[in-house]
Amino acid sequence: MKPSTFIQGIERHVSVPSNPNRALWEQGDFTEIAVFMRQSGEAVVQGIGIEPPVRVLDLGCGDGTTAIPLARLGAEVVGIDIARNLVEAGNRLAAEAGLTRLKSQEGDACSLAGVADSSFDLVISFFGAMFAPKPFDVAKEMVRVTKHGGRIVMGNWIPNDPTFVSQVLKISSAFTPPPPEGVISPMTWGVESNIIERFDHAGVPKENISMARDTYYFASPEKIPTELVEELEQVYGPTMTQSKRPRKMERRRNYTNGFWNCRTRRTKVRMPVRLYPPLSCASLFPSNEPMKTLTLIFVLAISARGQDAISLKEVVRQSMARSRVIEASSAAIDAASARVTEAKSGWLPKVTYSESWTRSDNPVFVFSSVLTQRQFSESNFDVGDLNRPDFLNNSVAGDRRPAAL
């Protein structure tokens, strides 16, 4: 099966990002982490419930955790990710799976320039778009590219959740310098009021947004949680960055201790002041058994355009089409045009025809009518008939009135 022209069109026009997050996600090898997420990715896609033909945009697609299952279900999928290496990995995996209706490419969730308005039936982003630095722009772009009546589904990590990923990110952020002004924490996507505000700002009312907590599994029959944490330090961009940052010995030790406590299930971690609050992340790992359940996610199902989208131009067009005042004005113009035609006819000759009929036994009427009809005879001079004539019909064709000058 050949890639559709739709996918090819998107591929040609989408802009290449200049987002600073790009370097963050291109370092390391997130595909090593994504391996643990495949099973849940498929479960998530099954839960969304798609019915082909459907066009799907997977924002922050990574190497295809959700994009590949979507394509397998028959969806026409465009994946966009900030990291080139993940895009390449996603396309490679799709090719290996023989999925021609899936194409990944570089792009920035904050600015989907090149992606036309109302292009997709479904826009999903699982732990992808939440990391883009401008959440309001992200929401706006997601809504923009979604068709009327389409859906947006997001999966976002929940801040301060006592589960794995939230705690990893929390510890990482503890060693991160304050973000530049204007950059908003990705974890704010896990707060309901923020989600409502952002999508409301993009034009989606609160009533169209639903949220639910669900469990996302990092599944690996071989690895134990501590090994995953070690792997995170080695291949996961954000934690790799943080592990390199603490240059001073003390900060480095704090950072290491943070993860060490996680790995060894110590119940409390003494945190550097203001870096991070007491954690209980170690309770996530009751034993060193192979991982099954680790992390909660926040799943959003947003009917982005359950309401009709309408532009000012369309509103004006509709209101003018149904305006009775304008309709009356148009009728008045027609009447005026007819009066022009009528006035022009004044130069043309007029021909009129009329016919009248009269019946009477009035002697004068009968006498004059018989005479006018040229039917007068001698018998009409009979005195009795002159005084008391029979009734007579007289029909006059023409116009006896003098023509008006």
Partner: protein, 203 residues
């Protein structure tokens, strides 16, 4: 049967045609004026609705802020750093913000209903308004230019000019009533006992 052919009418018919054409132009201007009024009205409804959405959002945030202020104030009172009067004043402020929120929500409903009415939809329909408010690229304002534009382009001004021309045409027409008119008039008359059609049938 009669036939009439005007030969000379002192320009009366010509002026009648001109008056009718001017009347047609007046009607066109009237329609343009109505169209502009509808556009202006519906655009106002559209932007009012968008503004209403923003205002509701702002008041919601103000509400949250006021609620946080109240919480803080109550905590300060609990710790002995504020009095009941302080808390009460925050409550009054919160009530004011709440009132504003209700007012803005009601305004939004009214704006939305007005827009829906203009486009013939149920009054409570909610739309996703896609046209973002953007400032118009305004050139350097020159008063004379605006005046000229108003005089040349405004339907009312153009209608007034047309009305003046029509009045002049009527005046000329009235003057020409003194002049004679020449019309060729022909008539045919036939008297018979029956209507023509019956006569034709009977032969």
């Amino acid at each position: 049967m009669t036939g009439d052919q005007p030969l000379y009418d002192a320009g009366r018919n010509k002026r009648a045609v001109r008056t009718a054409k001017l009347g047609e132009d007046v009607s066109r201007e009237d329609r343009r004026r109505n169209q502009l009024a509808v556009i202006a009205q519906v655009a106002r409804f559209y932007w009012d609705t968008q503004l209403g959405v923003e205002e509701v959002r702002v008041t919601s945030q103000a509400m949250r802020s006021a609620e946080a202020d109240l919480e803080r104030s109550e905590a300060r009172r609990t710790s002995g750093m504020a009095t009941d009067a302080d808390v009460l004043s925050i409550r009054v402020h919160l009530a004011g913000v709440h009132e504003e929120q209700i007012r803005r929500s009601a305004d939004l409903e009214v704006d939305r209903a007005a827009m829906n009415d203009a486009i013939g939809l149920p009054l409570d329909s909610v739309h996703f308004l896609t046209t973002p408010p953007a400032p118009l690229p305004v050139a350097q304002p020159e008063l004379s230019g605006y005046e000229k534009n108003a005089v040349d382009g405004r339907p009312k001004a153009r209608q007034a000019r047309l009305a003046a021309v029509i009045a002049r045409v009527h005046a000329a027409d009235a003057h020409n009533n003194y002049l004679p008119q020449v019309t060729l008039h022909g008539a045919f008359e036939a008297d018979r006992q029956r209507f023509a059609i019956v006569a034709a049938r009977t032969g």
